[in-house]
Symmetry: C2
Subunit: 211 residues, 2 copies
DNA sequence: TAGATTGTTAATCGATTAACAATC
DNA sequence: TAGATTGTTAATCGATTAACAATC
């Protein structure tokens, strides 16, 4: 909440804290100490306290952390209290899977439109949405207050589409295309490179084999 | 290739090197210096040289790196020269998308079977595979020399299924379930937590808003 | 008050960057 | 040989862990 930049390592750990705290909350646990949480999550208690203190003190000496309060504070830090309208670009296997995947809506990420440049897919139903032609994307973004675009298209189309999205005022891109996007610094980009992930898995197997 | 443990940070960068080198190779580029590559990839030349030297010297003073050679060496390090048989557990939206997604086969990851516990899906066609009941999983793993299982099932089933997979000799789990799996140390686990990724995106938007 | 546990400072560890000698 | 660029050592930076005083 203050001016200082929080390191990427800390941000990357927040969703995991959020998940564990959500579980504790669901179990009806009221308070948790950094020590208890550290055993549960297999990280050091020191790291937990340092991480939370990046955002100001959420705990109380001699007591620990109130689970529900901490859970809600992390939600606020992550911006999960805000609703986000998103569109999905690409109605191939991955785009369709994401469009049909309900769980994100629970967290306030609402799919408002799905776009593809393949006429064979136009009008196809995906939950509350039907696939629209790419030409309608720009107008749709402006009219429906869309802030996130999910890029589920081949890598060679991704750069061009990203440019169009930036031009019509999108704030963030969730990029599943296997390419590094070049966008202005104020555009938030989060990459999901599945093949990179699979290669890391492959490395793990190869290393195991070498033992 | 030697005894020393390579840091996770280095491993995580290898797929990206591999991607850029593949592009250079496709463009017919023969040699590249750490300096050139650093400008292309927006990392320091120092880091590139340090990273590669973890695995022994791939370059030559005064010349740089031979693109094709380096590309092939990274493939070997990542174990991409090996073929891997995999099965997909869960034929929901995500499981089906992964089963239909051809690109992984190109890299030697071959989908040999798809399993689900929903009888309504049994026999459903997904490329070369048909959905089979979960009860057949163990035998299939043993008979078809499967080393990777892709977990595309809800989080509350994931722990149990992971245990069964470990018991029947799987080597690696590509985990899309939103839970931390508890498995023996010799089992390779690579997590793809999409909702974590979406939360990081959300943080980026929230931070941007606060400016 | 005594005990517990945070918030925070200090110490350590590891990763990144800089510098340069080795060598093609 | 001279120029280029790696491989590698040293310096710096940042992140993690340890320690403990503050405080509930």
């Amino acid at each position: 909440m203050d001016e200082r930049e929080i390191s990427q390592a800390v941000i990357a750990r927040l969703p995991r804290y959020y998940r564990y705290l959500g579980d504790l909350k669901d179990e009806g646990v009221e308070r948790v100490s950094s020590q208890e949480l550290s055993e549960l999550m297999q990280v050091t208690a020191s790291q937990i306290r340092q991480d939370f203190n990046n955002f100001g003190g959420f705990g109380q000496q001699g007591y620990g952390y109130n689970v529900e309060y901490l859970y809600n504070e992390i939600a606020k830090i992550l911006g999960l209290n805000e609703k986000h309208n998103l569109i999905i670009i690409g109605a191939g296997n991955l785009g369709r899977a994401l469009a049909n995947y309900m769980n994100f809506e629970r967290r306030g990420f609402i799919v408002r439109g799905v776009f593809d440049n393949n006429p064979a897919l136009y009008g196809r139903e995906l939950r509350r949405n039907t696939v629209q032609p790419m030409e309608k994307m720009e107008q749709f973004v402006k009219e429906h207050n869309i802030d996130i675009a999910v890029l589920a298209i081949p890598k060679d189309e991704a750069g061009n589409v990203a440019e169009r999205l930036v031009a019509c005022g999108i704030k963030a891109i969730w990029n599943f295309a296997h390419v590094d996007l070049q966008v202005p610094g104020d555009i938030v980009v989060e990459n999901v490179h599945l093949s990179d992930s699979l290669m890391k898995l492959s490395y793990g197997i190869a290393k195991r084999q070498r033992r």
